[in-house]
């Protein structure tokens, strides 16, 4: 799927918390339309990387360029406006709301009507509501969430919550989707579903995906491009096959006697 044009450029990112270096001179490019996996042992800086990309953390140095715009200093909301959506490692759903309501919040940035129009349910508000519902229903069907539409998310099992979170990210119609460990804690069946969803999203909507994942078989199956981090540094970058045969990566994963 990758077309060769890079949609996201990570350029020499350094991030430290106090004296602890989380990311040390990380650079890599993500090509438009590809599925890029960021892998690495625990504490390698994968989640920090994702948080830098969507503006939760501002790095001490380096640049993040998304669709040609430098967004290193931008806040998450501004970056979301540029067409980036994400899911969280520990599930960032709004626990008190139903599945449907959660997914609807994903449309927040697309609302143009004023609160007066919404309060009276006239004009643009009514039109937008119809459009939003249509899109939300499409995504609900796509991810097979029909039967739990009205269920408060807090009641759902972990795997389904992850899926709802994915739905919320999708209704924002992102060009780039960040997924922080979308399959952690899932059984084989659920992992298979999640992998299929990622591939389908990538193929059908042309959405570029950057995901963090631990399950190597999943990573090798679905990604076009793999970036390996270890102790905040990049130790591998290439196609799944290249990375699989990279000695440094093997050492980091399997451990070597020093």
């Amino acid at each position: 799927m990758a077309s060769g044009n890079s949609i996201l450029q990570i350029d020499d990112i350094n991030l430290a918390f106090g004296g602890v270096t989380a990311l040390n001179g990380i650079s890599f490019d993500v090509a438009e339309g590809e599925i890029c996996a960021v892998i690495g042992p625990n504490g390698a800086g994968k989640s920090s990387m994702l948080n830098v990309i969507n503006g939760v953390y501002v790095p001490q140095s380096g640049r993040v360029i998304f669709r040609g715009q430098d967004c290193t200093q931008m806040r998450p909301r501004q970056i979301a406006k540029l067409g980036m959506a994400r899911t969280f490692q520990n599930i960032g759903l709004f626990q008190g709301m139903t599945v449907l309501e959660n997914i609807l919040t994903g449309r927040s940035l697309k609302i143009r009507s004023t609160w007066i129009e919404q309060g009276l349910n006239i004009g643009r508000a009514r039109r937008e509501e119809v459009e939003n519902r249509a899109l939300v229903e499409e995504v609900i069907e796509f991810l097979h969430l029909q039967s739990i539409r009205k269920t408060p998310v807090g009641k759902l099992p972990y795997g389904l919550q992850k899926r709802v979170e994915l739905a919320r990210a999708l209704v924002a119609e992102p060009t780039l989707l960040l997924q922080d460990e979308p399959m952690t804690g899932m059984n084989l069946e659920e992992k298979k579903d999640m992998s299929c969803f990622a591939l389908e999203i990538n193929r059908e909507y042309g959405t570029t995906i950057v995901l963090i994942e631990h399950d190597m078989s999943v990573v090798m199956d679905i990604s076009d491009h793999v970036v390996v981090l270890d102790y905040g540094a990049k130790i591998g970058d290439g196609t799944p096959d290249e990375v699989k045969n990279n000695q440094e990566v093997i050492d980091a994963y399997l451990g070597v006697t020093h």
């Binding site: 969507n54 939760v56 806040r75 998450p76 909301r77 979301a80 406006k81 959506a85 994400r86 969280f88 960032g92 759903l93 709004f94 626990q95 008190g96 709301m97 309501e101 609807l104 919040t105 994903g106 927040s108 940035l109 609302i111 609160w115 919404q118 309060g119 009276l120 349910n121 408060p152 807090g154 009641k155 919320r168 990210a169 924002a172």
Partner: protein, 313 residues
């Protein structure tokens, strides 16, 4: 002894009317709770500060409407400042930190109101102002003690006026926060700051809006209540009346605040008269509302309309 139905209806009407006032104050609490998950300890002092600002302005012979507009603007600026200097730096911090910040805010406002204005007790004759302002064809001059004689039921004109103002405000707020996207954003923001930002909800704007609206509620409620209890630190305590209201209605629900307010309003009047008579004591009103709240909590721990906390074990 025959049951005095006229008196009974008077009590109910009076109770409902003071209930509307409680609802208004309770909504102030609910809005902050909905958007940040905390109980706003500074609500009472905000009420006092708003009322005091208004009184001092009018005492300085500023026109009624100008004073009202200036005070409203002050409360909006106040809301924006709270967002900028309290909420924003504390985003993603523990709820306890946020709550403690509101305790600090309460102390700050209290000190500031004494510093800027004074700590004297001020009377507020809203009635006089309104008489001029509204050019009332019906003689409203002393309408604190003036009663409408309707169906043999005596109702204070000021209570009617206060009920209409508070009721209208509650209606506008309810529609705004239930029917618009802002309502949903509020809940999203209180559930998960990070996720709310990531889906593009303007966290800062939502908070500033909520605090500004709460400030305006504080102003209106402060003015209406000051009429009865004067503008002084008793106003801060008056706000405590809203506590049982939100316990009954549920901390997260605007309709709950309305229903809770009415229940407390009627309940405490009934308790004072009938239960007090029965027990041969007076002053039940001050604690009876808490008793009602306790009874409700026994059966509905998260309030009538409150969100039930769902936790997977």
């Amino acid at each position: 002894m025959d049951f005095d139905w006229v008196f009974f209806i008077e009590l109910i009407v009076g109770g409902l009317m003071s209930g509307v006032m409680y609802s208004l104050v309770a909504i102030g609490f609910v809005l902050i709770y909905k958007s940040s998950g905390i109980f706003n300890f500074a609500q009472g002092t905000m009420l006092l500060f708003a009322a005091l600002t208004f009184v001092k302005l009018t005492e300085g012979s500023v026109n009624f409407w100008v004073a009202l507009a200036v005070t409203m603007a002050t409360m909006v600026v106040f809301g924006i400042l709270v967002e900028r200097f309290m909420m924003r730096p504390l985003a993603n911090q523990s709820l306890l930190s946020l709550f403690m910040a509101t305790v600090g805010l309460a102390i700050l406002i209290e000190g500031m109101s004494q510093y800027i204005w004074d700590s004297a007790i001020h009377g507020l004759q809203l009635a006089d102002f309104l008489d001029l302002a509204l050019l009332d064809p019906v003689n409203m001059t002393v309408f604190v003690v003036d009663y409408i004689d309707w169906l043999d039921i005596l109702i204070s004109k000021f209570d009617v006026f206060a009920t209409i103002v508070a009721g209208t405000m509650i209606l506008v707020l309810a529609v705004f926060f239930q029917k618009t996207r802002t309502g949903m954003s509020l809940r999203a923001v209180s559930d998960d700051h990070l996720a709310a930002m990531a889906v593009g909800i303007p966290l800062s704007r939502v908070w500033a809006l909520v605090w500004a609206v709460t400030g305006i509620i504080a102003l209106i409620a402060g003015l209406l209540w000051a009429e009865r209890v004067s503008v002084s630190f008793t106003l801060v305590e008056a706000v405590l009346k809203a506590l049982p209201v939100i316990l009954i209605g549920g901390l997260t629900s605007i309709p709950g605040a309305i229903v809770g307010g009415l229940i407390i309003g009627v309940g405490e009047k009934m308790g004072e008269i009938y239960l007090g008579d029965l027990m041969g004591v007076q002053g039940i009103e001050t604690w009876f509302s808490y008793f009602i709240a306790l009874v409700f909590l026994l059966f509905k721990p998260s309030g009538l309309f409150g969100l039930k906390a769902i936790e997977r074990v």
